[in-house]
């Protein structure tokens, strides 16, 4: 990927314009403006993060939304998302397995024990079938009975009836990632389209559930496409944007794509925050590898206001305690369940 960077003088102008537009008026940057931020020189990264942090504090406040996630159905997915170890079409070592209801409740309890307000149930499917919907119905009811936590879901492409069923179950937020820029999507997925994903997102929004939609940066997209993606998410106006940093998985078509630099990752955080001043911008997978401890702190002081704690779906996170200690150290309170409702 070739990257041009903006000269230093321009950098000050770009950040000043962003300050007036985003911080003062709450209007997110356009894709073209995001591109300018993504092309800032290394010397300006700290200033971009500082501005993004000011924007987050003004438009979202100091609280951090903490979430845990779990896979109710792992592996064996018929889709071919080239980054994903759960596709059944690649030679990934991840085997297919279902979680039972008891294990699901255990996972929700583990999440609630961290002080988290959100618990997201995820399935590796194109979209849910009858069996998965009935597991969800039973599982969500069992969690609500046993644990004080908001339940979200991520089950792929939905029909209108399934959207309504999830609302009925009390699922308050639905995750469906656009993953990457529309123009890069065909390089990443061939078994369904970006537009199909968008249609599900519109149905979710119309239903009254909160829309959670993000993706993965660093999958070989150009910096222009990364800016395009931020602009497209900005147009969608999701309640939450989970930001993953690409982590190459054995056996997948993207196995050899290198991990992005921490500087590029931090600029992406700042740029996405400046594109979406009011959204819940969540640290999702890959941060441990791309950013490490210092970068995690920089991200939380650079526009991030939500984290996934504990393990991910097929990979492990750092221990939840370490994130909770970091939040305490930064004097960032954890959003309570009642506030998140």
């Amino acid at each position: 990927m070739t990257q041009t960077t903006q000269p230093q003088a321009d950098a000050a102008v770009i950040l000043q314009q962003a300050r007036e537009q985003v911080l003062d008026r709450g209007i997110g940057l356009s894709a073209d403006q995001v591109l300018q931020v993504l092309q800032l020189p290394d010397e300006s990264v700290a200033d971009a993060l500082a501005l993004a942090h000011e924007v987050r504090m003004k438009w979202c406040g100091p609280e951090v939304e903490v979430e845990g996630i779990v896979s109710i159905k792992t592996g064996g997915c018929p889709e071919d998302c080239h980054f994903c170890s759960q596709s059944g079409l690649f030679t990934s070592p991840v085997r297919s397995v279902w979680l039972n209801i008891e294990e699901l409740v255990t996972a929700a309890k583990q999440t609630a024990a961290t002080g988290a307000s959100e618990f997201c149930i995820v399935a590796a499917v194109r979209g849910p079938d009858e069996n998965l919907m009935s597991q969800m119905r039973e599982g969500v009811a069992a969690i609500k009975e046993a644990v004080d936590i908001n339940v979200a879901a991520s089950l792929g492409i939905l029909t209108k009836e399934q959207v309504d069923d999830l609302v009925d179950m009390g699922v308050h937020r639905y995750n469906h990632n656009l993953e990457t820029a529309q123009s890069y999507f065909p390089n990443v997925v061939t078994t369904h389209t970006w537009d199909e994903r968008w249609e599900t997102l519109e149905m979710v929004r119309d239903s009254g559930m909160e829309v959670c939609c993000g993706g993965i940066v660093g999958m070989g997209e150009s910096v222009e496409q990364r800016a395009e993606f931020a602009g497209q998410l900005g147009a969608l106006k999701p309640h939450e944007v989970p930001l993953n940093f690409f982590n190459p998985r054995p056996g997948t078509p993207f196995e050899e794509v290198p991990v992005m630099s921490s500087t590029e990752a931090l600029l992406s955080i700042a740029a996405f925050r400046l594109a979406m001043p009011t959204t819940v911008l969540r640290f999702a997978g890959g941060r441990e590898i791309t950013l490490g401890e210092i970068g995690t702190r920089d991200g939380l002081l650079g526009g991030i206001n939500a984290v996934i704690v504990g393990n991910y779906l097929t990979t492990l996170g750092r221990p939840a305690d370490e994130d909770l200690e970091l939040l305490a150290d930064l004097k960032m309170p954890i959003k309570a369940v009642a506030d998140a409702l």
């Binding site: 085997r95 590898i289 393990n311 097929t314 990979t315 492990l316």
Partner: protein, 66 residues
Amino acid sequence: MEALWCDRCGESLREADHFDCQVARNLEPPRFCSSCRRRMVVQVLPAGWSARCSEHGVVDQLNNDE
């Protein structure tokens, strides 16, 4: 039981040092049984994981902090 196979990549432990695999394993559960090289059924929960080989049983427990 003697570990013969890398639990991350499934290749022989005798043929390479698997240093990258060891590093990666800090943030990944095992995927292959180190005794017989079978792919294991692995479940990841927010605070733990388990991995089961159909021949050698559960080789790690949920709530394992590793």
